[in-house]
């Protein structure tokens, strides 16, 4: 038992663990839409797109979450602008902006003296650096996002499964789609501190894809995905503590292991 409790003797570990679990659950729930609606590429792009915002906030000692949030919205709007009226296809617009934002972010960060450390914190997260105020911010935003998803469960289900039904029911499909993108952007912003920019996309996709293999209805899929997200965060953080590896990587690798197990289980059972 001691090995379980030992890490929790440190307050920064307690906060880190709480933050990871919250983010794990949040990403896993939003991830069900990412997986079902085929938005994996968008999630990845969104995660990298916030890098310049984070870098600018970092340089000017501003609020990282705020910087990330502004960058995410700016990129989402730019994607809409470039792909409007079919000027270029949406995935092309995403590809261009994703690369541009990543490059701009790295360029900004490379101007700092503590370049290597800062970059790795932003890219891979720094879960042990979560301050009490960060934790409140993460918890508050996550609760707001999850509540919105809960309240809009039916309309989100309809626009994801059957856009034509959404039209006949006169749902404001465009508004709901944009709201979903905003929620996705906020999710990425929230996960910045724990798993970092480059691994947030994995936490959006992997637990949800695992749950997709194990369930056959949307709500159970969300629950199972959340459970896998939470477990991956806890196990990953312990692995990171005992084997002295980067926590974000450990969390994502644990989630990947769950996916492989589910995949194998399904294969063995299916045949």
């Amino acid at each position: 038992m001691n090995w379980l409790l030992a890490p929790l003797a440190y307050q920064f570990m307690q906060r880190g663990l709480l933050a990871s679990v919250i983010v794990g659950v949040l990403c896993a729930v939003m991830g069900t839409y990412v997986v079902l609606r085929g938005m994996a590429f968008l999630g990845d792009a969104m995660a990298h797109a916030i890098l310049p915002g984070v870098a600018i906030a970092y340089i000017f000692k501003g609020d990282l979450l705020l910087g990330a949030g502004i960058a995410a919205v700016a990129v989402a709007l730019a994607i809409g602008l470039f792909s409007k009226d079919g000027a270029v296809k949406e995935d092309t617009a995403i590809g261009i902006l994703f690369a541009a934002a990543l490059s701009l972010g790295v360029a900004l960060i490379s101007s700092m003296q503590t370049y290597a450390v800062d970059l790795s914190h932003i890219l891979f997260g720094n879960v042990l650096g979560v301050s009490p105020s960060d934790l409140w911010m993460i918890a508050g935003l996550s609760l707001a996002i999850l509540l919105t998803v809960g309240l809009l469960f039916k309309p989100f289900l309809v626009i994801s499964f059957d856009p034509v039904l959404a039209a006949t029911l006169r749902l404001p499909a465009e508004l709901l789609r944009n709201l979903m993108l905003v929620l996705l952007a906020l999710t990425v912003v929230v996960s910045l501190q724990t798993v970092g920019v480059s691994l947030a996309a994995a936490m959006l996709v992997t637990p949800a894809a695992t749950a997709y293999l194990l369930t056959r209805r949307l709500f159970p899929m969300m629950l199972v995905s959340a459970l896998i997200g939470a477990l991956s965060s806890i196990i990953g953080l312990y692995l990171s503590y005992y084997f002295n590896i980067v926590s974000g990587s450990a969390i994502v690798l644990t989630a990947t292991l769950f996916f492989l197990l589910a995949f194998l289980w399904k294969r063995i059972r299916g045949t």
Partner: protein, 267 residues
């Protein structure tokens, strides 16, 4: 003068994508409870017309009125059976989940289904002979069963107008029969049905009215009025063969397949 509005009126509607016009200056009226077959060659704009009627494709000009009011005023009086290839069959929903979606218009965004909603869903599934499949994933069903799920959803929606895009193409005989029986049942409920089909003989024998289109209105009226050689030649060109016993065959081996309609010939 009192005026009873038609169930559905289309006035000078032009429909298309962007600059491209697929359907030009279409006008027709459908009376209360009528059963209309929409026929025309592949790529004639049948699916495009349906998209406009559902409201996912805005009109370039003209207007569509339901009960004398413009499209969108009534929330859930139009139900739509999509073509099978338009549905993501791997989505994690069960048969009863899909049928329950038919109630969402009544329920609004936040209410949970009442006992009455659940009963209605049950009854709709029984009527379509899929009650025993209620907890199955939609991906596990056969093609005909999948179509019956969406028919059950349409019943649960209690629509005034039901649109079906090619319900007789590529389904088994049971489903075809169930669909036709459903059309009879809906007529007794005074539901207006508009069905697109490749099967001209079916259109002639089981429908009150036929809308013959090929990028524009060619003829609209009773099957006897519409299915005359002049109209058919105008719609299908020389790909149509009328047999001596009155059977009609359409040869559409290599159509400009804009609308992903499957090749099908009349019986």
């Amino acid at each position: 003068m009192t005026h009873t509005p038609h169930r559905l009126e289309i006035e000078n509607a032009s429909i298309g994508y962007g600059e491209k016009v697929v359907m030009r200056d279409l006008s027709f009226q459908v009376p209360h409870g009528a059963r209309v077959a929409v026929v025309g060659p592949n790529g004639a704009g049948k699916s495009t017309l349906f998209k406009a009627l559902v409201g996912i494709l805005p009109l370039q000009s003209g207007r569509i009125l339901i009960h004398g009011e413009s499209l969108g005023t009534h929330k859930d009086c139009v139900a739509y059976i999509p073509q099978r290839e338009d549905v993501d069959w791997r989505f994690p929903v069960t048969v009863s989940d899909v049928v329950m979606m038919g109630r969402f218009g009544q329920l609004g965004w936040f209410h949970r289904p009442s006992k009455m909603d659940k009963q209605l869903v049950r009854k709709s599934m029984e009527q379509m002979g899929i009650a025993d499949l209620a907890e199955r994933s939609i991906g596990q069903l056969s093609g005909g069963q999948q179509q019956r799920v969406f028919l059950a959803r349409a019943i649960a929606q209690e629509p005034h107008i039901l649109l079906m895009d090619e319900p007789f193409t590529g389904v088994d005989v049971t489903t075809q029969e169930t669909t036709l029986n459903l059309l009879d049942h809906l007529r007794s409920q005074h539901v207006t049905t508009i069905v697109s089909t490749h099967d001209l003989n079916l259109a002639a024998s089981r429908f009150d009215l036929v809308l013959l289109i090929n990028h524009k209105l060619i003829a609209y009226g009773t099957p006897r009025e519409v299915f005359v050689s002049e109209n058919l030649a105008q719609a299908f060109g020389n790909s149509l063969l009328v047999m001596e016993n009155g059977m009609m065959l359409v040869d559409e081996c290599c159509p400009p397949d804009e609308e992903h309609h499957q090749h099908a010939e009349a019986k």
